[in-house]
């Protein structure tokens, strides 16, 4: 069975129901709508991003659904990203964040996790200045504020 997804710029995408249901949002919509064949509008996702998202869901269509464990200590989570996922995420930064936002909106947890891990890997090992450069962020701290932060959080500075 196939479903039709419509991006914000009015492009139609035909996908298998099984693939589309990797998105919990779409899954719930389909359950509510029932047998109808009408296309599903996704006003928050452009065609380019939706292409990528569908590509991910196609590749992972047979993955088991993960049950989230509330007691998981986030620090202990493994930081390994699969090879295919790593190549998949080699996109420019704008697209990377768009994918993350789309995964969040469509409620595709594994894609959200991979995207966020990719961003985390960009941040790792960098100084604040390097991070700002990587993400085009303006420094809005005064030197006094910076000194204050340093003082308050000294214990976290791993030497």
């Amino acid at each position: 069975m196939t479903v039709i997804l419509v991006s914000s710029d009015n492009q139609d995408f035909k996908v298998d129901k099984e693939v589309a249901e990797r998105s919990i949002l779409i899954k719930n919509m389909l359950e509510d709508v029932g047998e109808s064949d009408s296309p599903i509008p996704l006003p928050n996702v452009t065609a380019a991003v939706l292409t990528k998202v569908i590509e991910y869901c196609e590749h992972h269509r047979n993955d088991p659904v993960q049950v989230p464990e509330e007691t998981d200590d986030p620090r202990k989570r493994s930081n390994d990203i699969e090879e295919w996922d790593m190549k998949f995420m080699q996109v420019d930064q704008e697209m990377l964040f768009e994918i993350i936002l789309a995964a969040n909106y469509l409620d595709i947890k594994p894609l959200l996790d991979v995207g966020c891990k990719t961003v985390a890997n960009i941040i790792k090992g960098k100084t604040p200045e390097e991070i700002r450069k990587a993400f085009n962020i303006v420094n809005d701290f005064t030197p006094e504020e910076e000194a204050q932060i340093k003082k308050e959080n000294e214990w976290a500075e791993d030497r």
């Binding site: 964040f97 959200l112 941040i123 701290f141 959080n153």
Partner: protein, 702 residues
């Protein structure tokens, strides 16, 4: 950021959740937005350890204004270092405002009865330099006053904690609290525990370390369960834990608090995981285990910190505890026991005397051949024969599966650590009756102590009796009487290697099996080993009876002890048997830690290791294997490369290879220094390029 739209808070939380502390610290300086998000993550999980943390004082000071971020706290207490910071620590953990109903649909759900104001307690604890003002701030805590207070209007901000009532900006929302230490003045329970933010706590762990000065530490289990209705994971362990409230009425039988009396399906506690010390099972009084009535959601049980069997056996009420668990906690699916503890998986009801005919009749028999035996040996032979017959009878009964009653019908996971007392009867019954068992670990052979094997259900009416009630003929001597009585009492005994193999032939459905610590001798595994040798069979016919879990097993960790004198065919036989596990994803073949000589299965082509992958019908573990651990002492320097490449070629999915060298047995340390030493093959180009991504060398030194 160069994003067209700003990122929502919860995405920041996921990104920062993947960063270690050092990187979170760097993020604090990037921008105001990043600072706020990183700070929330940084202070969500904190370890308080006066000895390990640099700038400890500064951490405490900062925490006082960051309480609202705390979700997970691990407090490793060192009484000396902590005493300077006592007031500050309490200020961080304790919450003095009254608990008010939140936004939940039912007011009852969020309003709960707080323990009575500990006015008495603070006076007795006035030895602390503890400002009275902290106590005055605590408003009176009776049920009426709570209900009278106006409920907070609920706007549910995105706190990221599903289902939690709106708590306000400064409200601590602690979810996980772990305490490790000795608490010498005993102030932990009264002051800290019962004043933590109780509606959000889902994990509470108290590990009471023995400081050598106290004989026992009293833990009020019922009161803790009462105070934390949302608790899912409770751990109260430590070698000196006693599960009784202090100051109980010594004469009364009902000194556990009223937690249990409010029972019924509507008041089931949410607890799913419970960890305790063996002394829990020695609780006294008729209502010792009635608290289990409200723990119907319990799924996982762990027993830890037993000190010795002589201690465990004192006043141990294993049978009653087991029955209470069976009756009130039907959903238990995981049992994990480490260290000395007398814990039963199956109940074996004692036979009343009028049902012992089938036992005593065995003693009455005198087969014809006995008349040929010299008189002085007859008695001994009769006893030996009787012992074997009783064993057979017991085994048959267990195979039928009607006598042993399962205390955990939903059992899926079972783990036994060091010094355990898993009996033959329990093991056998698992093989026969445990239909849902998928994960089994037995990390050592049963204990050598005698106490656990002397325990039986002493309180059963059938237990008390005198020997004259048993239908013993006048000729029965004392030793025979003991054998018969032990059988009647269904006394347990440790399992042997042969019995372990029998269990494996019975137990189907296993997915994870770890038997490290139980070295299985090759002779036990391969039947007819001696006949093989004597007939010099050159073909590789496998004489190993199949194990029931061959089709389902995904992880196997095993030690097979093989004497150095055994020829290669015997090793090959064992490898071929291992090759039967067609769906294996992870295989570990190691030596038991107690083996004195080089007594293990040799993984080289000369010794038949290709039997692992050769399946006539195809579809063996070479298609599924992802992780492999082998003892590589036997690999000559030249063999290493050949073996690794062969493994990589045979198993396309193999990603991780662990090679273990036992330091004692090989000159690994010395050879490594020389060029072309044992691990030189790791530098080889082909090995580096092969499909096995991780090749690790481990050395063990036992």
């Amino acid at each position: 950021m160069s994003t067209p739209r700003p990122l929502p808070t919860e995405i920041f939380a996921v990104i920062f959740g993947n960063l270690p502390r050092r990187d979170l610290y760097q993020c604090l300086f990037v921008s105001h937005l990043w600072h706020d998000q990183a700070e929330a993550q940084l202070y969500s999980a904190v370890t308080i350890d006066a000895r390990e943390t640099t700038h400890f004082q500064q951490l405490i000071l900062t925490l006082k204004t960051r309480k609202q971020f705390l979700r997970r706290v691990e407090w490793r207490s060192h009484s000396q270092e902590d005493s300077d910071f006592e007031v500050d620590l309490l200020d961080i953990f304790l919450d003095y405002r009254p608990v008010v109903a939140g936004s939940a649909a039912s007011v009852e759900d969020n309003v709960h009865y707080l323990p009575p104001s500990p006015v008495k307690t603070w006076r007795s604890l006035s030895c602390f330099r503890f400002p009275k003002r902290l106590w005055k701030r605590r408003t009176p805590s009776t049920l009426l006053e709570i209900q009278a207070a106006a409920p907070i209007q609920s706007d549910m901000p995105p706190t990221g904690i599903p289902g939690s009532p709106f708590l306000g900006p400064d409200r601590p929302a602690l979810k996980h609290f772990t305490f490790t230490g000795d608490d010498p003045r005993g102030f932990l329970q009264e002051m800290v525990l019962f004043n933590l933010m109780s509606t959000t706590l889902t994990t509470l762990e108290l590990h009471l370390v023995n400081d050598g000065q106290r004989l026992s530490y009293y833990v009020d289990l019922e009161r803790i369960l009462d105070t934390y209705p949302h608790l899912k994971d409770l751990c109260l362990d430590g070698p000196i834990c006693q599960y009784e409230p202090i100051g109980r009425d010594k004469d009364s039988n009902h000194y556990y608090s009223s937690f249990a009396s409010r029972s019924g399906p509507a008041t089931l506690h949410r607890l799913e995981k419970f960890t305790f010390a063996p002394s829990m099972m020695s609780r006294r009084g008729t209502d010792a285990f009635t608290f289990l009535q409200r723990l119907g959601n319990l799924k996982r049980i762990r027993v830890r910190s037993g000190r010795s069997y002589s201690e465990c056996a004192q006043g141990c009420r294993t049978w009653e505890f087991g029955q209470a668990l069976k009756q009130h906690c039907p959903m238990v699916e995981s049992v994990d026991i480490d260290g000395p503890a007398i814990f039963w998986i199956y109940g074996l009801p004692i036979l009343p005397y009028d049902q012992t005919r089938h036992i005593t009749s065995l003693a009455d028999q005198t087969p014809a051949y006995m008349s040929l035996v010299p008189a002085e040996l007859v008695q001994r032979m009769k006893e030996d024969r009787l012992r074997l017959q009783l064993l057979d009878q017991e085994q048959e009964e267990l195979l039928e599966g009607k006598v042993a009653e399962p205390l955990f019908p939903q059992l899926k996971t079972l783990i036994f650590g060091q010094d355990h007392s898993l009996s033959f009867q329990d093991l056998f019954s698992l093989g026969v009756q445990a239909h849902y068992l998928t994960h089994l670990e037995i990390n050592s052979l049963p204990t050598q102590s005698t106490e656990p094997w002397e325990v039986y259900d002493k309180d059963a009416p059938a237990a008390a009796a005198t020997a004259t009630m048993m239908h013993l003929t006048p000729t029965t001597n004392a030793r025979t009487a003991i054998l018969l009585e032990n059988r009647r009492l269904q006394k347990r005994r440790p399992f042997t290697n042969g019995e372990l193999i029998m269990f494996l032939q019975l137990c189907s459905g296993l997915r994870y099996l770890s038997l490290t610590g139980c070295g299985i001798p090759l002779e036990t595994l391969v039947e007819g080993l001696i006949t093989m040798a004597s007939l010099s069979i050159s073909g590789r016919t496998s004489n190993v009876r199949p194990w029931a879990c061959e089709g389902t097993l995904e992880t196997l960790k095993i030690c097979i002890d093989v004497l150095p004198s055994h020829p290669a065919e015997f090793h090959a036989s064992a490898w071929e048997h291992l090759g039967r596990f067609k769906n294996l994803r992870s295989l570990t073949v190691t030596c038991s830690s107690t083996s004195m000589k080089r007594m293990f299965l040799i993984p080289t082509l000369k010794f038949g290791v290709e039997g692992l992958f050769q399946r006539q019908e195809g579809g063996g573990m070479n298609e599924t294997l992802e992780e492999l651990q082998l003892m590589s002492d036997w690999w000559e320097a030249s063999e290493g490369r050949e073996m690794v490449l062969w493994l990589a070629k045979s198993c396309p999915r193999l990603r991780k290879l662990d090679l273990v060298y036992n330091f004692r047995f090989c000159e690994y340390g010395l050879r490594r220094m020389e060029k072309g030493g044992h691990d030189a093959f790791l530098e080889d180009e082909d090995v580096k390029q092969c499909s096995i991504r991780q090749i690790n060398i481990q050395t063990i030194h036992n």
